[in-house]
Structures are given as C-alpha cells and as structure tokens.
Symmetry: C2
C-alpha cells in the first residue's frame, strides 16, 4: 500500500532531467485559501522522497526478486566495467550463511545468478574519478535534479571531496543521492540482525519502512548467522545506498576471536560485500596501536564495536593495525566497485565524560591522513563522528573535523548531549544532531529510543527517523538551505487558515498528526472547523490575528501604523468586525 | 503508590538545613562494582525532586483536603501578613464556577474556609523585598539547600533580580524553588481544562503526574467552565508553584468578548487568583497598541491567546492597553501577596518565518521597561520568550532578553526550531530548549506531542516532561553547572560495568528503560549479564574496553603508552587475557 492510498492529497510525481533522469518526488496538493482568509490557490509543495519504488503506487514489488536496476544502463554505457562472475548461491558464500528467505528456506532469494561487475583492468569507476576528469555523470545529473541545483555544482563538490555520491556498480537498484554540507542534510538509519534477535524478513521490512520515513541511507549492521543472505535481500530491495561494517562479518568468520583476524580474511570480506553492492563501508583504520591505551582511563573505554575489535587485535599482536598499514590495498578494491569509505571513529566517546578527549582527537588526525590517502586513489570518503558529547562541545567536533579532513563530509552519530535518558536517546541525540547539522555535518546517523537497551523494532525505527528528519530539517532551515523553509511556511499558512488536511499532509508524519487531532475532535466537520480543541469554539487567537489583518487591509498599513496617534473613532469599525467573529461559531 | 515501591534502590530522603528546613530529595542507592571491573562501593546519587509529598511513601494524601501547608510558620512568623477573610465556597466565587469535585458534586472541595492572607497595611511581603533588605528568609535557605549553594548566593541573586522565588503567601503548600540562570535549569508544565475537553479530576491527576516526572512549576491554563474550582483543587494539592494567565478567566467573565474587558474586572480577577495562591501570573502588558499592526503581515499573526485578546481590545477601543497603562496598580497587588510577574510575550512568533521580527522585539523592549517598573515595587519578575525560532536565531533571543531586561530570568516556550512536525513538537521544541537553556534561559516551558493538535493527556504530559528534563539537564551539563554531570557519570559507569538496575534507576524514566531492555531480554538473569541484546553474548565492546584497562593496569600506563615501540613478545599475555573473555559467555 503506497502513501497516497492513505492520504488523498499526497501523491508520487517525478522530475524529468537530462540523460533520461527521472527523479521521484512526493507532491502535496493543497486546497485553496478561502473565506475570511482570502481567495487564492496554494501551489503544491514538492518534497524530496526516499521511498523509491516502494512508495510508487504504479510499481508492483516482489521482495523475493528485488526492485528494478534503475542505474544499469548508466553504469554499463560507460564501458569501464566487466562481469567477473555471477552471484553465488547464499549457502556456498564465504559467509557460510544458511540460505533463508522471508518466505522460508525453500524459496530462492533475490539476486541469485546476477552478474557481478567491477572495473575493467586499469580503470577506476568512482564518481570522484569521473568528477575530477570533468565528467558530469547521469548520476550527478540525477542528484542535481533531486537537490534543485546545477549538475556542475554537484560535480565540483564531488571533485573537491566535499561531497560523495555512494554508488557501488553492483547496487544498480539505488537512486543516486549526495552527501555533502552544501546539500540537503541527510539521515542514515541503522538496522540489522543480532545473535539474539531478528530475522531476515523483519530486516527487509525495516528497510522498506525506514525508506518510507525518510532514511537517505541504511546501514546493515547484522551480526550472528545469515549475514550474507540478509545483506543480499536488503541490497536487492533498497532504493537507498547501503552501508556496512565489514569487520563484523570478518569477526564471525573467525569465531568471534578478534586476535584471529587477518588482513587477507578482512580483504576477502570486503570484496564479498563489494560484489553484493555495498555502497560504503565503515573502516576503523584510525584505531592505531598507540591510541589504544589512551582509552584506559575513560569512563566508558571504547564503545565502538569495530574500534574495540581492532583495539583487541592490536593489543593481542602488539602490532600496528592491519587496516591502517594496508589501507592502500583497500583503496584499490574500493576504486574497482566505487565503494566509499566511511572512516570509522573507533575511539568515539561513549559518555559525555569522555568527549573531545585525547583518544578521540588523535584518531581524528589519522582519519584526516587516511582521507588524503583515499583521495590519491580517487576513492570517495566520508568521516564518522561521535557519539556522546555535551552540548557546549558539539560544534568543535565538526569544525575540527572539517579542518583536519580537508572538508570531507562529516557523518555523525547524534551526538547524545546527556547520558541520563536511556529509552529516550532519539531525543538526547536529536538535540546534538540538529546543532552539529547546523554547523556543517552532512549526514546524521539516527539513534532510536532503544539505543543502549536493545535492537530497534519497527516503531523504534520510525521514531528515530522522524526525530532525525526534524534535526536535519532544522539544520537546513538554520543554514538557509534554498527551499528548506518553504515547507514550514506552507504548513504554517495552512495552520493559520485552519486548512487541517493540508497541515497534516505537509507534516513529517501525517498519520500521527491526524490521529492526535482526532483524539479530541474526531468528527469530520472538525477538519474544516475554524477552531481546535485547545481553545474551543468560543475564542481563537488565530482568528483575532485575522481580524488584525483584515483591519489593516481595509485601511492600508500606513494608516494602521499611525495607530498610536490614537483616533478613537476608528475603533468603531473594528468593533463591528470583532462582532462578526463570534457569530461564526 | 510512591516511586520506591516500584523501584527498589530509589527512595525518598531529606536534606536538613537551617530554620527547620527539610528538603526532600530522591536517593538512588547503587550496587558495588565487582568482578572484572574491580571491587569498590558506589556512592548513592542524590537527585533534586519535585514530587513533594506525592512522592513520599510516609505521607497519606487526601486530594479532597489538599497537602500540608509546609510554609505556614515561616510566612506567619514574619508578622507582616494579615487575614483578610476566608476562602469563598466555590459556587459563590466570582468565577461563578459550579462546585465540582473529583469525587462528585456533593463533596466539599479542598481549601474551603481557609484563611486568606495578604500583606499588612504598608508592608511588602515579596522575597525580593526581603532580599534587598539583606534578609535571608527560610525560603531562601530552603532553596540554597536544594541547589547545593550558600543561602547568601540565593539572596544576592534574588536581590539583583537575576532570580525569582515564586512564593504566594496563600500557597503555603509549595516547596520553595528558585528560577535563575545561575541555578539548575527549571521546567514548567502547562495543564488545564478547555471548553471542549477535560475535568477537574483529570487535571489534578495531571498535576500530580507532572510533579512526579519533574515539573518544577505548573501553569493552569484552564478555560471554559469551572476555572475557579479547578485552580483551587490544583493549588491545594501542588508542591510546586502554580502559574496562571488571568486574562483567560477575565475573558470568560465577559462572555468571550475581548472588547468588553475592563481594567477593573481584570484587577478583580487577579485579586481572586492571588487570594487562591497563584504564585506567578502571565501578564501581556507588552502588547501595546502601536505594535499590533506589526503582526498584520506575519505568516501566523498573533498566536498567543493572551496577546490576541489584548490586541483585539486595543483595536476595538483604539486605545493603549490597560495592562500597560495601569501596570503599577498590578504591581501593588502583586507585592501584597508575593505574586511574581511572568511578563507574557503576546507577540511571540508562531512560525519560523515570523521569528525575531519587529513585532517581537518591539514588545521585548517594553518588557524590559516593565521589568524595571515592577522592580521599583520590589515585585519579582521573569520574562517569557518564544515560540517558533529557527536554530540559527535561537541564541539571539536570550542574549537580547538578558540585555534588554537587565538580567531578569528568561522563561521560554521551546522554541520550536521547525514547523513541519505536528505530533512531535516536544522534539522540535526540545532542540531549541536545550540550546536556549545553554545560552542562559532559566526556565523552559514544556511543549507536548499534542501541541497544535489537542490538549495533552497523561502520556503527553510525561513525554513533554521527559523531553524537557533532557533539554534542561543538557543545558546544565553544557553550562558546567556544579554537580550536573555527576548523574551522567554515575549512569555511564554503571552502563560500562553492566550494572543494569543501577543504570535504570539513574535514568530519567526507569520504567521505560527497564521495559525496553526486557523486550529483548526478559529473563531476570539478563539484568546481571555482562552483555546485552545489541551484540549478544559472543562479543561485546565494553568487555574489550575492560581488557584494555586490565592490560594497562597489569603493566602500568607508562609502559603501555610506549606500546608503539612495538615489542611483539608483550602481546602473549594479552592473548591469554582475551581468551578469558569468551570463556565467560
């Protein structure tokens, strides 16, 4: 069921651009202003949408086959990729995951037999590579139409490293999007199975659900069994880029013994995931041996899973991290599929007490160094950030990162501005996210109410996303991002004019807005009533405001501005106007 | 049922101070650190509490009689008040409210026959008056014990106008508290009936509920019938100061016709409410005639109810506001009961488009002037602030208010940093509240999820309060308020050491934290397990951090800091240590 079945007024539309580009958007049709408020049509509001074909009523979806490969022609037409085989049946994959599908073990999964692409020998297939050569790809044109900017703006931002366009040549189902501080602030949702809970079916459902509620990216953080098939199901059904933390799967392969990890095993895991189509990977190459002891006296030590795995490896072998030492080899793999780095902050603070400390900033310096190394390979990079940070130390995180990492996009988890509210960490972190977004963070990784307590369920995913869409939008409005405030203004005008349905449809969550209104005033007539349950029909400040406006309009503002001269007789007419007010009820 | 019935480990305790002061606090007893994490006791954490006798298991409450008058001796012993009658039966009160009680119409309400106090002729009974004379009252001593500061610090802050201690001599049930930027950031909860919904019983229940979840103040914004008895029930049962907006009741008395309002009728309403014990009143005296037309071209006009009532009056009569012109007469009444002004921002923006505009700041200048006029009468003052403000314009609101109003406490509604999330405005506003709190706002008025959609129910009140306790605490941590971060640190230490029950008990909402944990791992053993449902038993970053710590402890940090020298043989021991990790599961 698509959103427009539920909400008349909300529909799927498209922007047509060059190169056959066709960008889906959500169109909110608005009713006309009428009656006391004047008589004028209200233009529809067009909204960025992340739901892809899942939100398109004209598309039939079969999750067991996956969604359409919208980017296939663009990728193949460039002539720089070759087929290197076809997707392995899950059971034989290096993950040794049992074949398991939502419909049951007997059903084939999506993507089986699909050709695997990678760069032809000697070629580099990253968007950064094309951008630096001065080429504006269809992907960049798509993003430009989506963001309402010129394609050259997108190309230049990617070429400079200030933005990335995550775009694995094996994830042809994804709709291009851009992550950079000059563009709309993006939101990432984490999902994934664990050893304790969750099934593939639930995770695919969460993916679709996350895209519906505004996830620009989804990270699959699955651990436990079935990592490989879970990821295949997700990628084949995802219209948004998919990120992973490959060290999780690598660790499973060595029976959860960090000291058994090797670069070779890790590299093979990266290739396995790149062949599946993972668009960006968190690599904790900044957790260097000498930084590990810096965490010893922290209140909460190392809270990043990937960071702690690498710290354990470094200590066990008393050696420098293999991720750091062999980073260039990873770059070569990433360049062959256009996988982007998400340089992990393995030393991020896990409590406000540990924020902005030596360990965190030592690692950040290394992330800056790694950013430049990746750029030497024309590989796209974003940099991950904290974590738990008190509000007065939030902005320093992004200003420092932008400086140290030469403007590479920052991608932050929250940050949580206090530790005392488990169960409400979408809110503790949404505060930090809005502030760090305003200061220049390009993508915000959501935190759900379940953070610290359990894996997010369906409703937690929604709560996290709504909160982060609020934070991202607040940042865009504060940054004066072109067009961001249009939605606020349209909604506020609808609110002022008691166009309730328009107000609901323009809101981030029309279902909830409508349901809360109906709790007090369920009658259909209340949707057109010029009052609400807060004040009741007897009195309404919005209506008095309208009296002021009409009073001003009848006389012209100049005359009204001379009000303080005090001409008593002028009040007569307003009294009559005021009288009309209460007749209406 | 008190909180400690539900949560062993959380109990009611008291701080004893001078003058018979006995301040209730919440004590969270912590279990000892043990096993791998060391062997040490953890000191209990003492928390500021607002629940008063309602949270004291040793006190029996009869809502129909009200709670104990804890301040009676202090007020009477000063010898500057006289009895001016006794509380009128509700039905005969000037509100013409029908007598109605939670138990039904036949039951007597609380407070009937109670003596009404006011200043003896020629006396001024405000805490500002005493503070300026150099007197440290028992109320100030109470607040000092509560805030963990010296009584002189409190007296000096009140004397300078930088803080207020709302404290009507007829609300003897309230426990003294202070509102000022140098103290713990406070939170106000709005409740109240409307013409469309709600009963007295529900409102008293919301009051008790609000105090339980951390409301430092409660405003009764009732409209419709039964305003007077509703307020009496609330005040007699409230351990926190009660605020009102008397123009609401005044408007009811003139049949909802703003132009029929007179100063005399308004004044009588103020006296009626002062005699009941209202501790502070929102007075929209800053909505002056010449400012009204400034709202004509706004997106959302005037959204303050009180502001629009006064705007309507000004336009209807084409005269300057009676509240502004006769403000000194209100000061004299306020001085006789120690009612504090909450100078209303009737021109606050109702949409981000209208933020920080001419209308808003013109009114603010007048609020600065009125602050000084009130201070001439030794009357306590705080100043209300917006509203809807984009994040980049939030801080200007408080810096400007502090300058214009000579440091009088700022009391803001949110602000909401975007208009697009009806149903989630606790979050849109919690972001603004944290930021404006960090910048110096003394009290934050909560916004519930129902804002713009309906009157808050019980769960909305709780959601609003938790969100605002987060915002206020985040502000206190960011400001470096002494002791604020202790709770974060204690909770984070408990989290790191897998002391789950301690983590729950230290959280803002132990019920929810525990319930969310139990969704994934309901078995009692999981409360002591050294893992959680996010990673499962096979791997845990917290445990690896502990490995790092132990590794460092076994060798001494100096040696560990020399790790990068790279001595392979040292790793052997850590490998054995790491081995132990997985045996544990």
């Amino acid at each position: 069921m698509s959103i427009d079945d539920v909400h008349p007024g909300i529909s799927r539309a498209h922007i047509d651009g060059p190169d056959g580009v066709r960008v889906p958007i959500t169109r909110v049709a608005l009713t006309a202003t009428s009656g006391r408020f004047g008589d004028e049509p209200n233009d529809p509001v067009e909204l960025y949408t992340t739901s892809g074909p899942h939100g398109d009523p004209d598309v039939e979806i079969d999750l067991a086959r996956g969604i359409a490969a919208v980017r296939e022609t663009w990728v193949r037409d460039r002539g720089d990729v070759v087929e290197v085989g076809s997707a392995r049946p899950y059971a034989a994959g290096p993950a040794a995951g049992t074949r398991q599908s939502p419909a049951g073990p007997a059903t084939a999964g999506p993507g089986e037999g699909r050709p695997i692409l990678r760069a032809a020998p000697g070629r580099n297939v990253t968007q950064l590579h094309y951008a630096r050569r001065g080429e504006t790809t269809p992907e960049m044109a798509y993003v430009a139409a989506r963001e309402g900017v010129e394609p050259e703006t997108v190309r230049a931002a990617i070429a400079s490293g200030r933005a990335i366009l995550p775009n694995n040549v094996n994830h042809l189902e994804s709709e291009p999007m851009v992550i950079g501080r000059d563009f709309v602030t993006k939101v990432n949702a984490n999902i994934g199975t664990s050893a304790v809970t969750s099934s593939i079916e639930e995770e695919v459902d969460k993916l679709v659900w996350a895209c519906r509620w505004g996830a620009d990216n989804v990270m699959d953080l699955s651990t436990g069994a079935h990592i490989h098939p879970t990821r295949e199901w997700l990628i084949r059904n995802s219209p948004v880029p998919i990120g992973t933390v490959p060290i999780y799967q690598a660790l499973e392969k060595v029976g959860n013994q960090p000291e058994e990890l090797t670069f070779e095993l890790f590299r093979d895991t990266v290739v396995e995931q790149a062949e599946q189509g993972v668009d960006y990977m968190t690599i904790h190459a900044g957790v260097r041996l000498p930084y590990v002891p810096m965490a010893a006296n922290r209140v909460t030590g190392i809270v990043s899973r990937g960071g702690s795995i690498m710290a354990a490896w470094c200590l066990a072998h008393h050696r420098e991290s293999f991720l750091y030492e062999r980073f260039d080899e990873l770059c070569e793999i990433f360049a062959a599929y256009d996988v982007a780095f998400s340089l992990g902050d393995g030393m991020r603070p896990g409590s406000v007490a540990d924020a902005n400390d030596e360990a965190q900033f030592a690692e950040l310096d290394t992330l800056g160094e790694l950013t430049r190394r990746a750029w030497e390979h024309d590989v796209q990079v974003m940099v991950e950030g904290p974590g738990h940070v008190p509000l007065d130390k939030v902005v320093e995180n992004v200003t420092r990162q932008q400086q140290v990492c030469d403007g590479a996009p920052f991608y932050t988890l929250g940050p949580l501005v206090t530790d005392i509210a488990p169960g409400y960490d979408h809110i503790t972190s949404g505060i930090g996210a809005a502030v760090i977004g305003m200061a220049g963070t390009a993508m915000l990784c959501y935190v759900t109410p379940k953070e610290h307590l359990g894996l997010p369920g369906r409703d937690d995913v929604k709560q996290g996303l709504i909160t982060y869409r609020i934070a991202a939008h607040a940042a865009d409005v504060a940054k004066g991002h072109p067009g961001a405030q249009r939605r606020d203004d349209a909604l506020s005008k609808a609110r002022f004019e008691f166009r309730w349905e328009d107000q609901f449809n323009l809101s981030l969550d029309p279902d909830t807005a409508r349901a809360m209104h109906d709790e007090s005033l369920p009658a259909p007539a209340a949707k057109t009533a010029h009052f609400c349950s807060m004040c009741g029909p007897g009195f309404c400040s919005m209506r008095i405001s309208q009296d002021v406006r009409e009073y001003a309009a009848e006389r012209g503002l100049d005359e009204v501005e001379a009000l303080h001269v005090g001409m008593e007789e002028k009040a007569e007419e307003f009294r009559r106007l005021g009288g009309r007010l209460y007749v209406e009820t």
